[in-house]
Symmetry: C2
Subunit: 211 residues, 2 copies
């Protein structure tokens, strides 16, 4: 088996280490060490540590976002044809299911999805701004669909509730079984599919609560 090229080796190492240790706790020296390339190769190929983060995001997030956007638009168009508003749970499902499918498609993808979850709730402006640029068009589409699904909610209320829902989603993606509660439950943790179902049920009930 031939080694992937320098750029790919750096991306692979960075994705894994960013997801495991976080952006700021990952040094370029640890990335280049694991990728078996020279320290300066990162700056040559990507320009900076921050630009490397963006490249890591774009490699998988652009295709994944295309998938989610297609699913969302299918739901919206089907509702349009039927002459009734889309169902909130179908919209949420169109958003969540491709993410889960991607995560389960390959063992390496777990690290990427964890990184995405971290980034959705990241307070650090370096990481958050970089991620926000890539994800916001999709969030906007979801909000637009939910406005049609739940026309009784004032826009400000819906936006607030969507933020609640996205926060819950983010945590589910990055730490399916740990935080913010570290409590060691005696019962077995939920598997990926069951967790996604619970997430959809929870957020849907919250979004649809009387106003």
């Amino acid at each position: 088996m031939s080694q992937p090229d320098t750029k790919t080796r750096i991306l692979d190492a960075a994705e894994q280490l960013f997801a495991r240790d976080g952006f700021h706790h990952t040094s370029l020296r640890s990335i280049t060490g694991q990728a078996k390339v020279n320290l300066a190769a990162v700056n040559y190929h990507f320009g900076s540590k921050e630009a490397l983060l963006q490249a890591v995001f774009e490699r998988h997030l652009l295709p994944l976002n295309r998938l989610r956007q297609e699913r969302l638009q299918q739901v919206l168009e089907a509702a349009e044809r039927a002459g009734r508003p889309p169902a909130a749970d179908r919209l949420l499902r169109a958003f969540i299911e491709p993410t889960l499918a991607f995560r389960q498609a390959h063992p390496n993808n777990r690290a990427f999805i964890a990184l995405i979850g971290r980034s959705m709730v990241e307070m650090d402006s370096t990481v958050r701004d970089c991620f926000s640029r890539l994800i916001e068009p999709l969030f906007r589409l979801l909000l637009c669909g939910l406005q049609r699904a739940l026309p009784q909610l004032p826009p400000a209320i819906l936006l607030t509730r969507l933020r609640f829902a996205l926060s819950a989603m983010a945590h589910t993606m990055c730490m399916p079984d740990r935080t913010p509660l570290q409590i060691d439950s005696s019962s077995a943790p939920l598997d990926g599919g069951e967790l996604a179902e619970q997430l959809i049920r929870f957020t849907c009930a919250g979004l649809e609560a009387p106003c």
Copy 2:
């Protein structure tokens, strides 16, 4: 007006800068610069940057947690006396309202609550571990109360839903009007009290959703 002592000046500066820029983007030099103390004063008074973070947490979180614990126990005891399970929304309210009241008690407290919100969703293990130690007994009490309020939910499901709820709470605390959606809503943002009401309504509906 006499200056507060060195230790307090460091705590004040650190609290503000940690909340604004995050733990890792705040250098000890910027803290000691703003506090107008010598760089080495941090290590003398607190031992390390991480120990300083813990001191910042403890200064306000220990009293606030006592308040929240009292409120939670009042709800639990009132239900006990009435011979019926506590209401989920009362438990959530006992948790959220003292937090909001503290935040509105003094302008400087806003930075601290933002820091707490950041810490609840913090991926970085330095910040999260330090914070978790202080907050987990309270989370445990809340979980315990919710188990009585919602006995029909299997423990694993309830724990999962509580994690969803806490994630939404965390974001509300640290960024009442911005993230993860940066979308500039045309409608006016909700004020603090209304936001808390929406949060209680959302999380309560999610927790009580059929299983």
